[in-house]
Amino acid sequence: MFEVILYILALTLLSYSFFRDRKKTKMALTKSWKAFINILPALAGVLALIGLMLAVLSPDLVTRVLGQNTGTWGMFLTSLFGAITLIPAFVAYPMAASLLDSGAGIMQIAVFVSTLTMVGTVTAPLEAKYFGWKETLLRNGFAYLFSFVAAIIIGVVLR
């Protein structure tokens, strides 16, 4: 749905650009292509890594392991799964909901959602290619710690 909006936006702007100035539009397309080709090798590596990771740490396995481990240890384990795996939202949220049903605590789920979305271990090589390793380690490290803070606050608010 949102992807469709993105396409409509990009294509509308592209046609507008084409009618305003063909030369500039050609420059823009060259730039788009260059930016894409530039990052393609690193991107391909990361996509392959995600494919491998998702097969080894499948959502089924994650649900089983996390459903059995609750409490502080469960929360820690959940945060590691969240940080390492990269599961698309439409799989992750139903999964989180079923984890809640199978006995996981609200803090455990909160730390899972936050680490899953904010911490990207498998995408780190790509992030480092753009912004360097220091930024990558700092952003992901802080996001990891923040996920616990957020989870504790959510645990208190939703109690």
Partner: protein
């Protein structure tokens, strides 16, 4: 060696994949299916993003970016960065090239980090999903905490990464 270096991660993963296929064909097939799905997802989401990058580069002058999100943009810059990130769709790796063009256009480093943070966990499509699956109280509480956390973390990180290091990152993107 210089030719191989960009592909090092891809080569490593493919070698591991081949090993797995030899010992566990079922798991190997799963990896293949997953990787194909990932590539298809990438091909679906990236074309409009890279189109926008090219168009932004050519049509929106540096001054516009600096005015709304540059060094002196203050609270306006923070708000713009959150809005841009939250209005997005797609995985975090799609945000990196957009953040790179922001850097190239002179957007303040902390605002780039806020944009990345907002994209990672505050995207509106994702929040809607979260509300359906985990309830509005959970999703909205997490959203509010995330706004605060992302701003604080961005300001901290842009302090820890020195101005010299920041200008190295900016130089890297100056002639993309």
């Amino acid at each position: 060696m210089k030719l191989i270096k960009p592909y090092i991660l891809l080569i490593l993963v493919v070698i591991i994949d081949l090993g797995i296929i030899l010992y566990n064909p079922d798991l190997g097939l799963k990896i293949f299916t997953n990787t194909r799905a990932n590539i298809l997802q990438m091909l679906a989401i990236l074309p409009p993003i890279f189109l926008l990058i090219g168009l932004l580069d050519v049509w929106v002058p540096r001054e516009q970016f600096m005015r709304f999100m540059g060094e002196k943009s203050g609270i306006v810059g923070i708000s713009f960065s959150i809005l841009l990130g939250a209005a997005a769709a797609g995985p975090l790796y799609a945000a990196f090239p957009l953040a790179a063009i922001m850097i190239q256009k002179g957007v303040k480093f902390s605002n780039v980090l806020i944009f990345l943070g907002a994209w990672s966990t505050m995207k509106i499509p994702m929040v809607l999903f979260e509300i359906t699956a985990l309830g509005s109280q959970f999703a909205l509480t997490r959203w509010v905490i995330s706004v605060v956390g992302i701003i604080v973390m961005a300001l901290l990180i842009s302090r820890i990464i020195t101005k010299t290091e920041q200008s190295e990152i900016y130089a890297r993107h100056s002639n993309l």
